[in-house]
């Protein structure tokens, strides 16, 4: 079969080394809890930012909504594990599971139907999706409640730790799925807006989500989320291993996607939308799918984040904070996976770690004074980000060599 690429081997070895070293240092307590938490947050931030880089850096859609989807993922996953550990019920799991599944099915069905209608305007399509999805959600809730007890019993048959782990992993994936589905519905009408307006509309999304979370106990009726007081009692299940696994999968996923015809279609839209559509690229479809994938990653990262500190507060998802992934993506270099991952870790380590330690006592408040100055200097010196569009060999797409001459002629005749 195919020989495995040298760069792939290097990447796998490198990744394994990073994992083992951090894990060892952490178990030997050379990395203390303070720094370990920062590493976990950096990993979470890397996944969120990779999602944004896909949307903005590779697809060219200026989105400020990443934190909205991050929040949705976080609260969704947290609610599932909270109900499991605190209320000993799988109701959260089953309800969200059915919502995710039924919504996905209805979206696909409606899309099939809509694509047959020529010239349907976006708003009408949106109204159709919305009506059908709301019906699906209603059905899903009923269905989920119906099977909640049997599933709870089933999971209780397993050892407690295993059951919890299963619930945790599914919760994180469901967090991503719900975020992705919301992003589909929200993206549908607004993806037709021009670049800046799309940014503003997504910023609006972040703020709307934050306000809803502030009132989650009163307006939405989720008592356990406790609104603006912050949600407590979420099991702290996220550790370095999980962060590593999810980050690793995310990087490989993005790398594989980008180095395929689909990835090239996504990037072509950033490069020149008119040229892309004239070359047969279904621009609205790829814009939507990229937005959905990016939001899925944000939601998944949210799920991971919720289980780092075991505490969620709506202020974490305020729009001021929502600039963080944007800053990281631009810092690392738009359209560079390497840059985004590096910048995420660098950003978290410097801002949360080094600046806290370096600044003398009584100067802690200077942290956010120094940070924007660094930001400014950085932008003035390197307006294209640290890495520009550099990628490590594993991620970089490789231009295949030309075949030898004799073979060539035969081939070109076939084309004719």
């Amino acid at each position: 079969m195919k020989k495995i690429n040298k760069s792939t081997i290097f990447f796998l070895i490198g990744a394994a080394l990073v994992y083992v070293i951090v894990q060892t240092l952490a178990s030997l307590k050379i990395i203390n809890t303070f720094w370990e938490t920062i590493l976990l947050l950096a990993g979470v931030m890397a996944i969120v930012s990779l999602g944004l880089n896909l949307i903005y850096g590779f697809n060219g859609q200026f989105s400020l909504g990443q934190y909205g989807f991050y929040a949705i993922g976080a609260y969704t996953a947290a609610d599932i594990t909270y109900r499991w550990t605190q209320l000993h019920s799988a109701e959260g799991l089953t309800v969200v599971f059915f919502i995710a599944i039924l919504t996905a099915i209805t979206i696909v069905v409606v899309q099939k139907a809509v694509s047959k209608i020529r010239g349907l305007d976006t708003l009408s399509a949106f109204a159709m999706y919305l009506a059908v999805v709301l019906a699906a959600i209603f059905a899903a809730v009923k269905l989920g409640q119906l099977v909640a007890n049997p599933i709870t019993a089933l999971l209780n048959l397993l050892p407690a730790k295993t059951a919890q782990m299963i619930v945790y992993v599914i919760a994180i994936i469901l967090g991503g799925a719900i975020a992705a589905e919301v992003s589909f519905l929200y993206g549908l009408p607004i993806l037709t807006l021009g670049s800046d307006y799309f940014g503003i509309a997504t910023l609006g999304f972040t703020i709307i989500v934050k306000v809803l979370l502030d009132n989650s106990d009163t307006m939405l009726g989720f008592q356990e989320m406790k609104g603006a007081r912050g949600m407590i009692g979420i099991p702290k299940l996220t550790n370095w291993t999980w962060i590593f696994i999810f980050l690793f999968l995310t990087i490989v996923f993005i790398r594989n996607l980008l180095n395929s015809s689909y990835g090239r279609a996504i990037v072509s839209i950033r490069e020149d939308e008119t040229a892309a559509t004239s070359m047969g690229i279904n621009v609205p479809f790829y814009k939507t799918i990229t937005f959905v994938i990016g939001s899925f990653l944000a939601g998944m990262a949210g799920g991971l984040y919720a289980h780092v500190n075991g505490f969620l507060h709506p202020n974490t998802f305020s729009f001021v904070k929502s600039f963080d992934p944007l800053i990281i993506v631009v810092f690392g270099g738009l359209g560079s996976v390497t840059g985004t991952v590096t910048a995420s870790f660098g950003w978290a380590l410097v801002l949360e770690g080094v600046l806290r330690l370096v600044l003398p006592d009584g100067f802690e408040t200077w942290r956010y004074v120094v940070y924007p100055i660094l930001l400014l200097i950085m932008m003035l010196l390197k307006p294209n980000g640290l890495f520009g569009n550099y990628e490590i060999p594993f991620i970089r797409s490789i231009v295949p060599p030309l075949k030898d001459k004799a073979n060539n002629e035969k081939k070109s005749e076939e084309v004719a």
Partner: protein, 371 residues
């Protein structure tokens, strides 16, 4: 690839866009019904909210003008604009409480009638804040935006966010504005009046106003007058003066403006200063109306004003004004009738709905891209 729609019903749905229209009609009808109910149930409460909304809207308008002018000329969402507004409020706080700037005229001419003297003092306070803010924005533009004019647009946006953080957290330092909520001292005394079925009259302190009447204060009057006069001044500058015309020329077509000998960099700097001056004035007025200043006070009003500018059609001055008035109403009405914490969500939902109906805002022109 047969793509003809056979079904006449589907064809009709597509042609009339009925579903999309229905969607908005349902929302619109609900809102109108709710507002109608509110008005008939308790007219004075409703009108009181409208008055409060106007007061807020006029302040937002001043901030929104800066956003819209700056976006119009350099296509930059200047996230630091809200913080310039905060600096304006704090400047007036210091000029009033440290330097008694609002009393200078009274101190100089003690025999002058108190009322006009107070007004002169207050105007001085506003002008001082405007000047400081203009200077600040001018400097910011030179340091943080001008070097990036040829760089990707996102770089300038990131520096704008950086400047915003810097102004907030530098302000939060103990020897600057402090991280505390500070009570603001108004440069004049508050007087309130009521108007309603029982007529018109002054509200004395400690006396409740007659029921079913609308209360408004001299703060309301001052905000409306100040905001309107600044709008007129701005309109005069932009429409009548040479520099204003140059601004519009640069905003429309920078290379051609340069071919006329217009120094586009200078014009951009002036635009920043002008926008900041208005934000500074808005800061003072806001602090007078809601007498508390703190280092993050610029974020939410800044955001609302920005939304107002977008709703009105970014780049359009009358649009910003209309958008701001709508935002003011939306905010007070939703706070009064839905729930206070929800007002931000309502404001942004409104934004999204407006963008869906008119993608370039109410007064924004729809330019077609040349291929």
């Amino acid at each position: 690839m047969e793509r003809k729609n056979q079904n006449p019903i589907i064809q009709w749905i597509v042609k009339t866009k009925i579903l999309g229209i229905l969607f908005f009609v349902v929302i619109g009808a609900f809102v109108i019904y709710a507002l109608g109910q509110a008005l008939t149930n308790n007219p004075s409460l409703f009108l009181q909210q409208v008055v409060n909304g106007l007061q807020l809207g006029f302040v937002y308008a001043l901030i929104a003008l800066g956003y819209t002018m700056i976006y119009g000329i350099v296509r930059l969402i200047n996230f630091a604009h809200g913080d310039v507004f905060m600096v304006g409020a704090f400047t007036s706080f210091f000029t009033i409480s440290r330097f008694n700037l609002h009393l200078w005229f009274q101190n100089l001419f003690p025999s002058f009638p108190a009322m006009p003297a107070q007004i002169i003092g207050a105007i001085t306070v506003v002008l001082a804040s405007m000047a400081i803010c203009a200077l600040l924005a001018f400097t910011i533009e030179k340091i943080a935006y001008k070097p990036l004019r040829e760089a990707p647009r996102i770089s300038a946006l990131i520096t704008a966010i950086g400047i915003s953080f810097f102004l907030e957290y530098f302000g939060a330092l103990n020897f600057v504005f402090t991280p505390n909520y500070i009570t603001y001292k108004r440069p004049f005394e508050v007087k309130s009046w009521f108007i309603g079925p029982s007529g018109f009259g002054t509200i004395e302190s400690g006396v409740t106003s007659p029921s079913n009447s609308i209360i408004f204060s001299n703060i309301f009057v001052i905000i409306v007058l100040a905001s309107l006069s600044l709008l007129l001044v701005l309109q005069y500058i932009v429409k009548r003066t040479k520099i204003g015309k140059a601004m519009r020329a640069v905003a429309y077509d920078k290379p051609t403006a340069r071919l006329m000998g217009i120094n586009s960099d200078a014009v951009i700097s002036i635009t920043f200063a002008l926008g900041a001056a208005l934000a500074g004035a808005a800061g003072v007025l806001y602090a007078i109306a809601y007498p508390q200043v703190y280092f993050t006070m610029g974020i939410i009003p800044g955001m609302k004003a920005f939304v107002a500018a977008v709703v009105g059609g970014i780049g359009s001055i009358p649009g910003a004004f209309i958008g701001a008035l709508i935002m003011g109403q939306a905010e007070t009405l939703s706070a009064a009738y839905i729930s206070t914490p929800m007002r931000d969500a309502i404001a942004f939902s409104l934004l999204v709905i407006v963008l869906l109906i008119r993608p370039k805002g109410i007064m924004g022109e729809i330019a077609s891209e040349k291929v």
